[in-house]
């Protein structure tokens, strides 16, 4: 099982705090496990709240028309990689 990188951990903490996941600790989110549906069981309402929190924290917006959204939302690792790429760009 792979471990969280520092930026992934920061994002995991944002997920836990913005979605108020009382029974999940940030460190327990496996980087490659599915965020939505299975695993953490987040739904699209969570995605909306998470998108707002990401805008606030990282200053950029996840877009509805990004063809890669399925992959971007698939795991902590993918989401974090997307955020890092978007911040640099």
């Amino acid at each position: 099982m792979s471990t969280q990188s520092p930026v992934e951990h920061e994002l995991a903490e944002l997920i836990v705090s913005s979605l108020n996941l009382e029974h999940t600790s940030a460190a327990a989110i496996a980087p490659e496990a599915p965020l939505f549906g299975g695993g953490l069981g987040l739904d699209s309402i969570d995605a909306l709240e998470l998108a707002l929190a990401i805008s606030k924290r990282y200053g950029f917006a996840l877009r509805s028309d990004n063809p890669d959204n399925k992959r971007i939302f698939s795991s902590l690792r993918e989401l974090s990689a997307h955020i890092e790429k978007a911040r640099v760009a």
């Binding site: 909306l48 707002l52 877009r63 509805s64 028309d65």
Partner: protein, 312 residues
Amino acid sequence: MSAHWSERREGGGWFAVWLIRGIGLHLGRRVARALLYPITLYFYFRRGPERRASRAYLTRAFGRPARMRDVLRHIHCYAATILDRVFLLARGTRDFAIDVHGLEQLEARIAQGRGVILLGAHVGSFEALRVLAEARPELRVRMLMDRGQTPAMTQLLHALNPAVAAMVIDAGGDGNDVVLAIREATAQGALVGLLGDRARSGEATRAVDFFGAPAEFPSAPHLIAAILELPVVLAFGLYRGGNRYAVHFEDFSAGAAIARNERNARLGELTQRYAARLEYYTRLDPYNWFNFYDFWQLHADPGGTVRDGAAA
């Protein structure tokens, strides 16, 4: 009767494409309307579940056993609004007499400049709300529509009015994309039209009182509005016979955020209040209710919708 609404094939799709577009636009509304009678009979005899759902609903709404003529009138009203969609999309509202109520309430919310959710239902014709687009052409209205669920209607829309079709947000798309699209549209000050009476399979619902019995309504429209802090204005376009429609706007909620620990209670209140207002407007003309399935099927679909009692 317990099938989820999405499992029923699209009612009216078959005639929407060949009859309405061809005959409707070439021979005009008067001729096409004459054909609504045989279509109504066909639908009555061929679509048993819809016929039974109509009778059960009308019996509930009228408080007396519904008769065959009531059911026929119900189906006819539905068919007439589908036909009128063609004219509303292709020619605008000029063929129609549309009474508009409560526009000032909508205007006040638009003036706040932060986007508005227009919350309708499967009653009457949401297309009659195009009267708004003509009165205020600068407004951007984006409608949520499930392209996969209504292929014939979607095809019709694209054929008749590509500009309107381009403004559709596909509700059948990935859920995350849908909510992000609502956010983007309203952030630009657009009005986003949603229908608040049907939950998609797997979506959270609340059981609230509706026509005297509990029925499940989705809580998502109210939750999305709260998260994005968007005001909600109710919007119903009722068909009143002939070429007459009555469009009703009603201010519903101010767009206040809801703290997490109050969500459960507040969503329950909002969903109940929406159902109460929907019942009020539906009772103005009960034949406008276009959910032709067992709407009050409480807990009949354990694998489908989920209650969101733990949403807080």
